[in-house]
Amino acid sequence: MAQQVVSKKDYIEIRKRPWYVYVIGLLWIGLIGFLAQNAAASAQELEPRAAMVFWVSAAVVLLAGVVIAFLRSRK
């Protein structure tokens, strides 16, 4: 009796990210850098409320980017 060999193949799909993902990533980094600069500089300017608003904004943008990137990678 011929033994049937069952071959199991695994496929790994490598998908190249479109160019705009990199652009968005750079914009995201730039925005966080801009907000962080303003936050730190506002503290130097002795403007505590402005510093707080900028730090919170930077944290929100950072977190939003991380969450979006994570969710996209789960697809």
């Binding site: 799909e13 966080i32 500089a41 402005a50 900028f54 930077a58 990678s73 789960r74």
Partner: protein, 464 residues
């Protein structure tokens, strides 16, 4: 059917993302460090033949100032008409006596009560500033080329401007500009100085003064307007003694600067005719506007694109030919139409709430012939004397242009004000939301480790 195998994305990509985020923060941090630690001292050669600094692109030079002027209506103003020395004329001596007594009583109560910004040390500092004094003709002590047996300095107008700009920075001025007196701009020289002496243009070559008159040679037709920075950190504590002494310090520094430049000109073989006392000789903001140092504003004072209202403006006449400058348009006057923050903050409601500037003056303390936001100087001065017991300055402190230049956002907002005036209301709202212009306590100022004079002298025009 092929089975899709998902890579182990979660951990790796998550870590990668976090690493990128940390990198962004690092960039932000280093940017901050760069902004803070870099140009503490900047030295570079003047790029312009006349020594004009390279200003940001959004500061445009224009042929006419952003404030309309009707030279036919304008007349020479007597400084004695200002409320500084003429309050009895406007409110009566009895009222002056009343608020003076009320102010004096309040001062004592505040010192004894240790009121914030009105403690004994605040008063002591306020009365501590001294200068060399001001003289129309200057100290007249420097050796002249004649006394040295050498010819006087000669050069092109551009070279003279550049030389003066370098000297003025060295003497302590923030920036300076030049214009020339003609039939119109001569009207900006007072008819009478604060001490009542007449200012008379003469064909004589040498300036002179008597007990009742000061003679200005027509050859002294070149005007130098210059600014002296004020400390934003003390000004934002207005109206306290801590805030009030901000202007006193700037005026005293200007006394030294004026004496220095007068002696410098004398040493070159030329004349420098200065203010004989505070605010003497001519209308400082007007000359500041004509020489391109800034624009007029709702404060009815000059606002500079670089320093906002945190400068005092001074002027000097001289017979050294210089290259003149043009007025500027940086969107400041246009922004004032939408902002009104100073008017809202003014405790005596002395500033105009009108959207558009007007030709109509509020009283004889204003000089007609220009379209401006005229202020009620009487209510302003009464508040100073009776309630603030010092000069006020709230309007300067809350102005959205009164920012330090550390955060990048400020430059972006200034660009926006210049090129997108339709967004001025939005910028004003954001200014409030970010807490700018909030008054600080006088007490806290004594804990601050500030640079000399409380100013950032590494913030010159166009040096970075």
């Amino acid at each position: 059917m092929a089975e899709r195998v998902l890579p182990k994305l979660g951990r790796r990509n998550f870590l990668r993302t976090v690493a990128v985020g940390a990198g962004a923060l690092a960039i932000g941090g280093s940017a901050k460090t760069a902004a803070a630690a870099s140009p503490a001292f900047v030295a570079q050669e003047f790029a312009d033949a006349a020594g004009r600094s390279k200003r940001p692109w959004w500061v445009k030079t224009v042929d006419k100032p952003t404030m309309e002027i009707d030279w036919k209506v304008m007349e020479r103003y007597s400084e004695g008409s200002s409320t500084r020395g003429s309050m009895p004329k406007y409110v009566g001596q009895a009222e002056v006596d009343r608020y003076t007594a009320a102010g004096a009583k309040l001062i004592k109560e505040r010192i004894l009560g240790n009121v914030d910004g009105y403690q004994l040390r605040d008063f002591a500092m306020s009365s501590a500033h001294v200068g060399v004094g001001k003289k129309f003709l200057g100290p007249q002590t420097a050796p002249t080329p004649e006394s040295r047996g050498v010819p006087k300095w000669t050069g092109t107008p551009e070279e003279a401007s550049k030389m003066l700009r370098a000297a003025m920075r060295h003497f302590g001025a923030a920036n300076c500009g030049f214009t020339v007196l003609d039939e119109n701009t001569s009207k900006l020289i007072y008819s009478k100085d604060p001490d009542g002496k007449e200012l008379i243009f003469t064909d004589e070559v040498k300036a002179s003064e008597t007990d009742k008159q000061r003679f200005i040679p027509k050859s002294c037709k070149y005007v130098m307007a210059y600014t002296v920075q004020m400390s934003p950190e003390t000004m934002r504590r207005s109206p306290t003694m801590t805030g009030g002494q901000t202007t006193t310090l700037a005026y005293k520094r200007a006394e030294n600067i004026q004496a220095s430049v007068q002696e410098f000109l004398r040493g070159l073989g030329y004349q420098g005719l200065g203010e004989s006392s505070t605010n003497a000789l001519g209308i400082a903001p007007a000359f500041g506007v004509l020489t391109g140092l800034g624009e007029m504003s709702r404060l009815n004072r000059m606002i500079s694109p670089e320093f906002g209202p945190m400068v005092r403006v001074f002027k000097l006449l001289m017979d050294l030919p210089v290259a003149v400058d043009k007025p500027i348009d940086a969107g400041i006057m246009a922004f004032c139409k939408a902002c009104k923050k100073c008017a809202e903050a003014c405790p005596s409601q002395s500033l105009s709430f009108d959207t558009e500037p007007t030709w109509k003056v509020r009283g004889p303390w204003n000089n007609p012939g220009h379209k401006a936001y005229f202020e009620d100087s009487v209510s302003c001065m009464t508040y100073w004397r009776e309630k603030a017991t010092t000069n006020c300055g709230i309007c300067f402190g809350v102005c959205p242009f009164a920012k330090k230049d550390k955060a990048w956002i400020h430059e972006m907002v200034k660009v926006g004000m210049s090129v997108a005036p339709f967004a001025d209301s939005f910028f004003r709202s954001m200014d409030d939301a970010f807490g700018y212009g909030a008054q600080a306590s006088g007490e806290s100022w004594w804990n601050l480790d500030l640079p000399e004079y409380g100013i950032d002298s590494s913030q010159p025009v166009g040096a970075v």
